[in-house]
Symmetry: C2
Subunit: 238 residues, 2 copies
């Protein structure tokens, strides 16, 4: 599949560019320590919180729940799990601050160096279920050099809704084959390919830790299959 | 007017952040020289091209013409004026390249240093009539450190349509008074203030050169009145 025509590369962020699990675990550990909670398992906390993410979007994608920002989905899940981790005592301000931990997650070590290289030749942006403020705050803090941001609240739709990919291509005014989706999730690439985009698989087999039950490897013949954003930059010739 | 609550500053780009006149003049001069056109007046060329900009948007804002991207408006005007400047011989590829001169315009000298400072505390973005590709290409080339981009094609509306300001505030999920509009054009700030935004006037009395017939000075009590983006950063305490 020819990649010569690619002008823009859009990236999944949670898991592909950023390591949410270790970042959220560390935030949980800090809060638990401040509250004197013993035997707090930060990794389990991060995984439990994340476990509500896709289920929280299902009714929105299905149209049975009206548009709900990702910060609200995060917060609803947080309120459910806090008592299980001994943190039921957190007040409103503390919960709000902790919920914004998703605005402060760190990139994988290869992400920023790889994106800097790709930016020299391609327009690069997130195509994420995050909100505009979440994605731009995260990028600012971590030095992720996006050219622009495509967020879920921009089109009020979550991946893998076909509209997300269609709208991004239309916004750019490019042909679908001039846009590549980069993701660590096979189903994200499957949805992008259905809309005619090029596909780059970046393997992140440790994203979910002991909860990971898929995406250990590419499950299709994606246009590029690699293990880091730096390797994607190698393949794309920058 | 309290500015303590401002979280994001959105900027007009053409004229406020970038000096389109000298940039377009230089591109014209290069093309004219390559074609052996004598007595080519680059400044007049830039002003003549720009003179079609606001009139080109009028029917779109009025709703009598369907959504028309700014690249198309630029191109239509270019085709009109090229013969007047001895450049009627340009072929399609040459016209297309010249039209993208608007993607390559340079910032005023104070813009990037000022924006770098503001970025440390505020989310910063263009709120421009430019397209997403135009604005992000321009920023990449010039090193403008936007956190994200709000483009006219995102909401299919041009300033001073109230929807432009309303949609930007809604996209951020902020209150209107948490968002500041920064612009060199009094009517842009007037439209922003009507929607509840804070206003920052940056004086650019040389934007249009000898064609300038307004915006020599602030015509209202804007929240901030200054003469450069660096001075805006001073006032905003960064």
């Amino acid at each position: 599949m020819a990649l010569d025509h690619v002008k823009a590369i859009l990236f999944d962020t949670f898991g592909t560019i950023t390591d949410w699990r270790s970042s959220i675990a560390a935030e949980g550990v800090r809060v638990a320590a401040a509250k004197g909670v013993k035997d707090f398992n930060g990794d389990a906390f991060a995984r439990a919180w994340r476990a509500g993410y896709r289920p929280g979007m299902v009714p929105v994608i299905a149209g049975t729940r009206s548009w709900t920002p990702v910060d609200v989905i995060h917060r609803e899940r947080l309120d459910v799990i806090l008592p299980d981790f001994g943190l039921g005592m957190l007040n409103e301000a503390e919960r709000r601050h902790l919920n914004e931990a998703w605005h402060r997650i760190n990139p994988w070590p290869d992400s920023v160096p790889g994106l800097r290289r790709l930016k020299a030749k391609y327009l690069i942006a997130p195509l994420s279920n995050g909100s505009l403020v979440l994605l731009s705050s995260m990028a600012k803090r971590a030095g992720i050099p996006w050219d622009f941001v495509v967020s879920s609240d921009m089109h009020k739709a979550y991946k893998r809704d076909p509209k997300v990919y269609q709208n991004a291509v239309a916004l750019l005014g490019f042909k679908p084959e001039e846009v590549m989706m980069g993701a660590a999730h096979n189903d994200d690439l499957e949805a992008a390919r259905k809309e005619g985009l090029r596909t780059g698989y970046i393997n992140r087999p440790y994203e979910y830790g002991i909860d990971q039950n898929r995406d250990f490897d590419a499950t299709s013949n994606w246009d590029v299959i690699c293990t880091s954003v730096e390797e994607l930059a190698d393949v794309m010739g920058v």
